[in-house]
């Protein structure tokens, strides 16, 4: 096994383990912290794919902003009650069963895929020559302009919705 494969193995295994820790912790604050570790692992995986910019954005946006907001809300909850109550509903064996079936299905499908997609114009060398931020920016504002604008519109709707809900009289 080569060094990159070993790295990937470590990240794949530990990310799976961390996701399990996130959903099984009794204390929600601990869940959020395992999620923080998970996000850092995802960022490392991006670095592994030579995507420095995405790795930095992953940490700034997810770990730095969204997760802090999660933590902010969870810290205001009454955790003492949360910790004594039962964690899962009665349906959890059904959910676990469906999850196992899907996982087997996924493994079989991935094993069947032999043809990789053709290489695009943005190879590692091309990206390195142009710079990550510039290449992402160019693609985002030319080729994928419409999806980008739609995404920003959806976010705008969410912001307006939040303002309307929070302030009854504007």
């Amino acid at each position: 096994m080569t060094l990159p494969q070993l790295f990937f193995l470590y990240f794949a295994v530990s990310m799976t383990g961390l996701s399990l820790l996130v959903v099984t912790r009794r204390n929600p604050v601990h869940s959020v912290l395992w999620m923080l570790v998970l996000f850092l692992h995802i960022a490392a995986l991006y670095l592994f794919l030579n995507a420095e910019f995405l790795a930095a954005i992953q940490i700034i946006v997810y770990a730095g902003a969204i997760l802090v907001l999660f933590l902010f809300v969870i810290m205001l909850l009454n955790l003492r009650r949360e910790e004594t109550e039962r964690m899962f509903q009665d349906q959890w064996p059904v959910g676990a069963g469906i999850g196992v079936v899907l996982a087997v299905f996924f493994v079989v499908i991935v094993g069947k895929i032999a043809v990789l997609a053709p290489l695009g114009e943005y190879s590692i060398d091309a990206v390195q020559a142009e710079g990550h931020i510039m290449s992402i920016g160019k693609v985002l504002y030319t080729k994928f302009l419409l999806p980008f604008e739609i995404a920003s519109l959806i976010l705008l709707v969410a912001i307006i919705g939040a303002v309307v809900l929070a302030k009854k009289r504007i």
């Binding site: 420095e52 730095g64 902010f72 810290m75």
Partner: protein, 323 residues
Amino acid sequence: MSVSAMLLVFIKTILVVSVFLIHVMYVQYFERKVIGHMQSRMGPMRVGWHGLLQPIADSIKLFFKEDIIPSAADRPIFYIAPIIGVIAGVSSVAVIPLWENFSIANLNVGILYILALSSIASYSVILGGWASNSKYSFLGGLRSSAQVISYEIAMGLSLVGVMMMAGSANLNDIVKAQANGWFIVPQIIAFVVFFISALAETNRVPFDLPEAETELVSGFATEYSGMRWALFFMAEYAGMFVMSGLAATCFLGGWSGPQIPFMGTMSGLIWFLMKLYMFIFIYFWIRATLPRYRYDQLMGLGWKIFIPLALLNIVITGLVKIL
């Protein structure tokens, strides 16, 4: 990467980190002297000549103090919280260019790396506040989380103007792009927004609401003692150094400056340190001068003034670049 190259990086790292930690230790002596003289006092005078050994005495005292942990604290998080802050602060130094072509890691996303680590550093305060299981600590932690999220946006947006002018997020390239004039002149709005946001991001006066000693005892650090408290303290000062270094690099041309005779490449380091310590002095000056902000004023300032100003700056910079 060959073994010798890795060894070189390792040696560089150890050197820079140990020198940096000595600076962090002695800057509090500098702070006490500056504030002392501003308030017509002498500052520390007893330990050594003009109190020069004071930081060492303080370190020894803190190191041997009893480490008290509240019985209802969440122990693992209580242990880990101060360490997160120190690690984030110290590892930010890796990308700051100290003199020409010298930084431990020459990252293409240098600015974003520092922003990412400064958002990780905020976890140290939030978690320290929560894990102590005390109402003062908890309020400090909550305030810090809200404050850091708000000011991070303004700080990131203010640096976008710098990145647009330099055409790169690599700090070495940003210094080189300032050969024909420092960015503080064309980016004066960004500079003001950045510096004030950096004050809020490092929890310094007048934005030190997370530890506001008049209302919250000592905020998030109330339950910490001895070495663990010292780690919080170090994290705060390391953050100050990183923000000052970033300001010097992005707006004042970093290591660039006229060649100082007989110094060779070290003249870059001297210029960089002079600019950095100018910012540190301004931090202390502000601390000695201004009263603390009220919390709603702090939030209003961040969201209603700084973020729109930073966006305006991006628009203006973009227009100037196109024309």
